[in-house]
């Protein structure tokens, strides 16, 4: 039995009814990693021995009759910007290439308490800055559907691992599309939760007012199961909201009759690839067949979302990355004569070009010269974008857009930024948004649609995605050649 091909829900049932052990499931995924990792390059660190030891421990608990979480024993890959105690957490940067966190992120504590099996740490763009994983200090990840193409980014390793069967589930982080873009390019499901739904304690910060951790899986049910586990208030992250979360997987419903879906015309005026446009149009028709009310809506400031995002995220990144000075942790240059030189040489030697360019942009936007005309202006635009969403949600329950303008493009294409055109607005407005595969293009590359919901209404967008998935199926696991 090729257990690595099973969804988390299927594996959970197989483990529960003792058709397979956790060790067998884990071994199957680890063997798959051995088989394809040299082609896909999804991982920075692989935790094979720890995973197998943990798997045997979970099997012992099951043998003793302990009642375990439904995700117990499910192999999961973790984006390498999420702190894992005792395991290298590099954020794909030379700066943290020796950093072993002394504590776990809150989401990792939750994963451990559910007895999930961590397979390893997945590749990303350096400090999550990018849309292709090519800015990783280590290596670019390849798209499992076509190894010459990008898996998207920044959570490219997490999406590629799930797509290729190198993990059953994974965690990514999303600041401007970093879960949804790679999910779209790799043909998997990825959820960026509402800002404040999931604790970021232990997430290596990019832009703190936009960052969210979220789940990636091959099915909507799997994503709902993992989201139910990781969401919730955390004393260690003051931005998490103390609201009641239900069991999003148990509450999934494919009855979406009379749900109203808004279609923002502005997204369709973007430079959309024809095949993406066709796929999204077909998906909209499918939703009509499923009984939804389709409404044209307007999000007129969307055209300014990308520059707004670029300024705000760079400003916050320049501030967050100020901590990397070669003193308390991480890389330190060996070439310095005084303290100032140590700071400058450490940062200049250990940050990559993309990170440096964003720090420069952010430093400028927060300087006396740039603050009013750039940072403050972008914050005003963010407010406008957010209020347009609030108005739109008076007319509809959810909003459907493409996730990306094209399917995955070739590695080496200079497309940093453009890949995020459809995704950044949800981050600026703090809204939940999910990528769902909605077809393949003529080169058999996956196409994704994005469903954006009201704050803390993840259930509605999960249901909308679930109904489509039930009607149209999921993307087959690619042959990796």
């Amino acid at each position: 039995m090729e257990l690595y091909k099973k969804s988390a829900a299927e594996l959970s049932a197989l483990i529960k009814n003792k058709s397979c052990s956790v060790e067998e499931a884990t071994k199957s995924v680890m063997d798959r990693i051995t088989q394809v990792e040299n082609k896909v390059d999804a991982y920075i660190t692989i935790c094979e021995q720890d995973a197998l030891t943990k798997a045997r421990e979970v099997d012992e608990k099951i043998a003793k009759g302990e009642e375990l979480h439904p995700l117990a024993g499910i192999p999961i890959g973790i984006k390498d910007n999420i702190s894992t105690k005792g395991i290298l957490t590099s954020s794909a940067s030379k700066m943290l290439s020796n950093y072993i966190p002394p504590y776990n992120a809150t989401v990792i504590d939750k994963i451990n308490s559910a007895h999930m099996i961590i397979t390893g740490k997945t590749n990303l763009d350096e400090f999550a800055m990018g849309s292709t994983t090519e800015t990783s200090y280590y290596k670019p990840t390849k798209n499992p559907h076509n190894l010459a193409k990008t898996p998207g980014g920044s959570s490219g390793g997490s999406a590629a691992a799930v797509s290729a069967g190198q993990a059953v589930l994974s965690l990514g982080s999303d600041t401007g599309g970093s879960i949804r873009t790679p999910a779209a390019f790799c043909g998997v499901v990825g959820l960026k939760p509402t800002y404040g739904a999931v604790s970021r304690f232990g997430l290596i910060a990019l832009a703190s007012s936009l960052d969210q951790i979220g789940p990636i899986g091959r099915t909507v049910t799997d994503v709902a199961m993992l989201y139910s586990l990781i969401c919730g208030h955390d004393n260690m992250d003051a931005t998490t909201k103390n609201i009641k979360h239900g069991d999003y997987a148990k509450n999934l419903s494919s009855d979406i009759r009379n749900i109203s879906i808004g279609i923002p015309t502005e997204y369709f005026n973007l430079d959309l690839n024809d095949e993406v446009r066709d796929s999204i149009t077909k998906a909209i028709k499918k939703y009509e067949e499923l009984g939804c009310n389709i409404k044209e809506i307007s999000l007129s400031s969307n055209e300014y979302a990308l520059p707004t995002y670029q300024i705000i995220s760079a400003a916050e990144a320049s501030s967050n990355l100020g901590r990397y000075d070669g003193v308390k942790f991480g890389y330190r240059s060996s070439d310095y004569a005084n303290l100032n030189e140590m700071y400058v040489n450490t940062r200049s030697e250990a940050f990559g070009d993309e990170v440096k360019s964003r720090i420069l942009l952010g430093t400028f936007a927060l300087s006396a010269q740039g603050y009013n005309d750039y940072y403050y202006k972008a914050k005003l635009m963010q407010q406008q974008i957010s209020s347009e969403f609030t108005e739109a949600f008076n007319e509809c329950d959810a909003i459907l857009t493409p996730t990306t303008l094209t399917s995955a493009f070739d590695l080496g294409t200079d497309a940093i930024g453009d890949a995020d055109s459809c995704t950044v607005a949800a981050n600026l407005a703090g809204l939940p948004a999910i990528n769902l595969p909605c077809g393949l293009d003529s080169d058999s590359m996956p196409i994704g649609m994005q469903i954006i919901g009201k704050k803390f209404d993840e259930q509605t967008i999960l249901n909308i995605a679930f109904a489509y998935e039930n009607a149209c199926g999921i993307v087959n696991m690619p042959e990796i050649v």
């Binding site: 040489n345 360019s357 400028f364």
Partner: protein
């Protein structure tokens, strides 16, 4: 507007290779140009999410069992001596 790379890189504690100035300048100028072309919507910045503000925890120490030891905290430091971080001398 153009970014003065010399001045900004000093503020950011970065040394930028001169050969990369032009490429950086072009990239950053194009982002700034997009912002220049953006309308200025209002002058009032409201507090985001004012009706659902952050909840700060009490300012009290956490339990000993959850606290990291000094050794754990210093375990990733590039240079440590007698339980302290070592940096280059700043007083000549």
């Amino acid at each position: 507007m153009q970014i003065n790379i010399d001045q900004t890189s000093k503020l950011a504690m970065l040394k930028i290779d001169k050969s990369k100035y032009e490429q950086l300048q072009n990239k950053l100028t194009s982002i700034l140009k997009s912002v220049d072309e953006m309308p200025r919507m209002t002058e009032d910045l409201k507090v985001l999410d004012a009706d659902n503000p952050m909840e700060l925890r009490e300012d009290i120490p956490i339990d000993d069992k959850d606290r990291l030891s000094r050794d754990e905290l210093l375990s990733n430091a590039p240079q440590v001596q007698a339980g302290c971080l070592v940096v280059p001398k700043i007083v000549e």
